[in-house]
């Protein structure tokens, strides 16, 4: 019986804690009646800024709560097609086939809103001596059939990378960043197999931080002092520009892209208010704070 008493002592507080959590969660859910909860899903690139929007919007005081989740642009669009979200975030255009599917499934055509811009940064480890890179080189490195597999082929020797092999860090195929990189940098060619496909923008930066041999790409908002962002040129011979706010705004940085929010049909009521707020000054200030490029 002593044994059971010990177990009881351990389990009981845990159970108590859990049930307390359950109880304390309830009122928050109940207060959201009707359309006062907005479901927002999609792009991992945008998930940080979408979180900040949602949190800040609480303070506006309209009693609207916004539920944000990531998963990738494709995931958000798939949810929009299924009609289970109010707003889908995407860091790539919705394909025509996807728009048609959404219209067929839900009876409403998706409407696109540009809510900000993002520069896609190419990351290498901090000690990597490489400074700039061109689209051709990136294609040779990343695309199927490309010939560059070693750092020495780029003319550098990377400290801490004894094998000289370039370790490719990429994104899972539902990612808008993945699709954008394939379309605009690789010219629609497929990626090489064997890249480490990470499930989040942040994980790419984390893996590159700890792996001297690696190269990766992700939104510039995810940059940390522990990685290095390469300057990028679209063509050989062009001047390479770094991913900064100015270069993205004046379009000299070649891999900048728009960030979109999609709704089913023209938004109404609280969803419209929310999108207007995002595209207004308050929302755009958050875009800038999160490391992205605001609309103006």
């Amino acid at each position: 019986m002593k044994i059971n008493f010990v177990k009881f002592c351990i389990c009981f507080p845990i159970l108590m804690g859990m049930s307390f959590l359950l109880i304390s969660c309830k009122p928050a859910e109940q207060s959201g009646s009707g359309k006062s909860t907005i479901q927002n899903k999609g792009s991992d690139t945008m998930v940080n800024v979408a979180q900040s929007w949602a949190e800040e919007y609480q303070n506006v005081g309209l009693g609207v709560s916004i539920e944000v989740s990531g998963g990738g642009s494709g995931t958000g669009i798939a949810a929009l097609i299924a009609g289970t979200v109010d707003i889908a975030n995407a860091s790539r255009d919705m394909k025509d086939s996807e728009k048609a599917l959404a219209t067929k499934n839900t009876g409403k055509a998706p409407v696109e809103f540009t809510v900000g811009y993002d520069a896609l940064a190419v990351f290498v480890s901090k000690d990597n001596p490489l400074e700039e890179i061109t689209f051709e080189q990136l294609t040779e490195i990343y695309a199927e059939g490309g010939n560059i597999t070693n750092w020495s082929q780029l003319g550098v020797e990377v400290p801490g990378c004894s094998s000289d092999e370039i370790i490719l860090v990429s994104r899972q195929s539902s990612s808008g960043t993945y699709a954008f990189f394939r379309e605009h940098v690789l010219g629609k060619k497929d990626f090489k197999l064997g890249s480490r496909d990470m499930n989040g923008s942040k994980e790419v930066v984390e893996l590159v931080t700890g792996t001297p041999c690696s190269i990766g790409y992700s939104g510039m908002g995810y940059a940390t002092p522990d990685v290095k962002m390469l300057k990028v040129a679209a063509k050989k011979g062009d001047t390479a520009y770094g991913p900064t706010l100015e270069n993205a705004l004046n379009k000299t940085y070649p891999i900048a892209r728009a960030l979109y929010s999609y709704t089913l049909g023209q938004p109404e009521g609280t969803v419209k208010d929310y999108l207007d707020w995002i595209m207004g000054d308050a929302g755009q200030k958050i875009v800038k704070e999160a490391g992205y490029v605001p609309l103006q």
Binding site: G71, G74, T75, I77, D190, L193, D197, L207, G210
Partner: protein, 317 residues
């Protein structure tokens, strides 16, 4: 009258049960029967659902079963040339789960034997509670540990160029299997009647001789079941391997040991990361379900082998 005699009240009427008790009992019986049957219903329903979603792929022009099983080219979302080959993913699953089982089995059998035979009552209770606690850690937490802690250790001590690889995933998975195998194996050892131990001791056997010659053979079935449940966990685990193995579609290179430091992707991780984006009813979606069917078949084979082996052992005895 003798003082120790007992007087029975022979004339007491037989106990009458109230209507509530009678009706309640039959309701309870039905409920329990339903609960028992529900397992069968659920399995059949899942089976039906997965097959229904996967089956139409055989009508698609872009798909061939040979390519699916034997090609290593996995390009489900390609804009130019869609290819569905999961050979690399099958190899990845086998590498990671195989390594996990090889690492986990000696550890868990060892700790089960220690807990059941060698340690004192205090240590025993403490260990059992801690091992149960270990089993309760969510897999995403294990995955996170794999991504941040053990991957750095793997890089530091093996000189691997990238920390998230077969070894990293295998070790994390082994840590997840250990509590399950240990607690079931410990139950199996406990189920061996004490009279066996006493008889062996009376014959002058040492503790180790008792374990090796008496307990292990006597608990063989239970131990095997424990190991196979561990294998099932290893094959089916998703979140931790998704984060810890590097998620790279390739057959790990380098014999005899180099492969252990290469990144791979497993079948389960592939389904988890891609099913969310695959448009419903598309080829990609159906191929992912077909992967689910394949996983189903693999676990079925593991269970069947287990069953046959256990029966074989019984017959010999």
């Amino acid at each position: 009258m003798p003082p120790n005699s007992v007087r029975f009240k022979a004339e007491r009427p037989p106990p009458r049960r109230s209507t509530i008790a009678v009706v309640g009992e039959s309701i309870l019986e039905t409920l329990i029967r339903l609960a028992g049957m529900s397992a069968i219903i659920f399995v059949l329903a899942i089976f039906y659902f997965i097959f229904k979603e996967a089956f139409p792929i055989f009508g698609s022009e872009e798909f061939s079963l040979g390519e699916f099983l034997f090609s290593t080219q996995w390009y489900p979302t390609s804009e130019t040339n869609v290819r569905y080959g999961i050979a690399a993913l099958i190899v990845g699953t086998m590498c990671v789960s195989g390594l996990a089982v090889v690492v986990a089995v000696p550890f868990s059998l060892g700790s089960a034997i220690y807990i059941s035979e060698f340690c004192g009552p205090m240590a025993k209770e403490a260990l059992k509670i801690i091992i149960e606690l270990l089993a309760a850690i969510p897999s995403v937490v294990w995955g996170f540990i794999g991504l941040t802690v053990t991957s750095a250790l793997v890089m530091k001590y093996t000189g691997a160029q990238v920390g998230i690889n077969v070894l990293n995933g295998g070790v994390i998975l082994a840590l997840m299997c250990v509590p399950i195998i240990t607690s079931i194996a410990e139950d199996a050892l406990k189920a061996v009647p004490d009279s066996y131990r006493e008889a062996a001791m009376a014959l002058g056997a040492t503790r180790w001789q008792i374990v090796y010659k008496i307990l292990l053979p006597a608990a063989k079935n239970g131990l095997l079941a424990a190991v196979l449940l561990g294998v099932g966990r290893a094959v089916g685990e998703t979140m931790a391997v998704l984060m810890a193995t590097g998620h790279a579609v390739q057959i790990p290179q380098g014999l005899p040991f180099g492969w252990i430091l290469d990144s791979v992707r497993t079948l389960t991780a592939n389904i988890a990361s891609e099913l969310g984006e695959a448009p419903t009813q598309s080829d990609h979606y159906r191929v992912l379900f077909l992967t689910g069917v394949l996983l189903f078949i693999i676990t079925f084979m593991v269970n069947l082998t287990a069953d046959l082996v256990v029966r074989g052992i019984r017959r010999k005895q």
